[in-house]
């Protein structure tokens, strides 16, 4: 094979862009806070695909992209934990988690 595959870096980056756009659409439009969180996870995964693809095709020996992707996964797990706790707290005080109703911090 030796790098002669028909699938190159641009294919992976295109896939990453499409997945990121889908996640962005979800973040912008969904009303439920947990659905917004799921869309955020999609965007994290798009970034991870791009990083691992760069790591595979541009710096195959240094593995920098894979290392950053690993840290991103850890940070995403921490983010999901705290965000779920906040969602549960909002559900207890507002009896609902639709983000277009929770606007008491808006000026």
């Amino acid at each position: 094979m030796a790098g002669q595959t028909a699938i190159g870096l641009n294919h992976y980056l295109m896939l990453s862009g499409i997945l990121f756009t889908i996640g962005m659409f979800g973040v912008l439009t969904r009303r439920n806070a947990i659905a917004v969180l799921m869309s955020t996870e999609l965007m994290f995964n798009a970034a991870n695909i791009a990083l691992v693809a760069f790591s595979r095709f541009v710096t195959p020996a240094a593995l920098t992209g894979q290392m950053i992707a690993m840290f991103i996964i850890v940070v995403a797990a921490a983010e999901a934990t705290v965000a779920l706790a906040i969602v549960l707290l909002i559900y207890r005080s507002f009896k609902g988690i639709n983000v277009d109703r929770i606007n008491f911090m808006k000026w």
Partner: protein, 166 residues
């Protein structure tokens, strides 16, 4: 030659799974279906990592995302949402402008990627990446490693404090 076409076919199947799973995740009315499609998408992304010779990352993806984060999401869905009333409006009133913005964004990305010359290195993929990653984690990246462990501890304590009944 068959190897190349096999790679292409696998790539397109996995891409189709990722994109279809993502679209169903953001568009499904039932939030539990969204979570299941999210798990499907995350599994396909793990398959994509295998295609990119990142075997350790694929394992981590399955363990942490599919095992922990997606389960957390499903717990959140079960604890907060009434799944029987799925006839509610599930998108806000900005859906069409958001669709236009996302379309422009995607067109921008595709236009930017179309003929950008990346410095692609023609090299074989390293075979034993887990060993190299472990070595890097303990030598070059030991400071981010410790910081990220501190961040996990802070997130753990913070989640307990926030969600505690007072």
């Amino acid at each position: 030659m068959t190897d190349v076409s096999l790679t292409s076919v696998t790539f397109y199947i996995l891409s189709f799974c990722i994109i279809a799973g993502g679209i169903f995740t953001v568009s499904s009315r039932n939030l539990f279906h969204s979570a299941v499609f999210l798990v499907f998408t995350l599994f396909s992304v793990a398959g994509m990592f295998v295609m990119l010779n990142a075997y350790l990352l694929a394992a981590i993806q399955v363990l942490i995302y599919v095992g922990a984060v997606a389960m957390l999401m499903i717990f959140g869905v079960m604890l907060t949402t009434q799944l029987t009333n799925v006839r509610l409006r599930h998108v806000n009133e900005q859906a069409w402008p958001a669709l236009a913005v996302c379309g422009f964004f995607l067109a921008f990305i595709v236009y930017g990627l179309w003929d950008t010359p990346f410095q692609v290195v023609k090299a074989d993929a390293p075979v034993n990446t887990s060993h190299a990653l472990g070595t890097l984690l303990m030598t070059k990246y030991v400071l981010p490693f410790e910081v990220v462990s501190l961040l996990l501890l802070a997130a753990l304590v913070g989640a307990v404090v926030i969600a505690k009944k007072d």
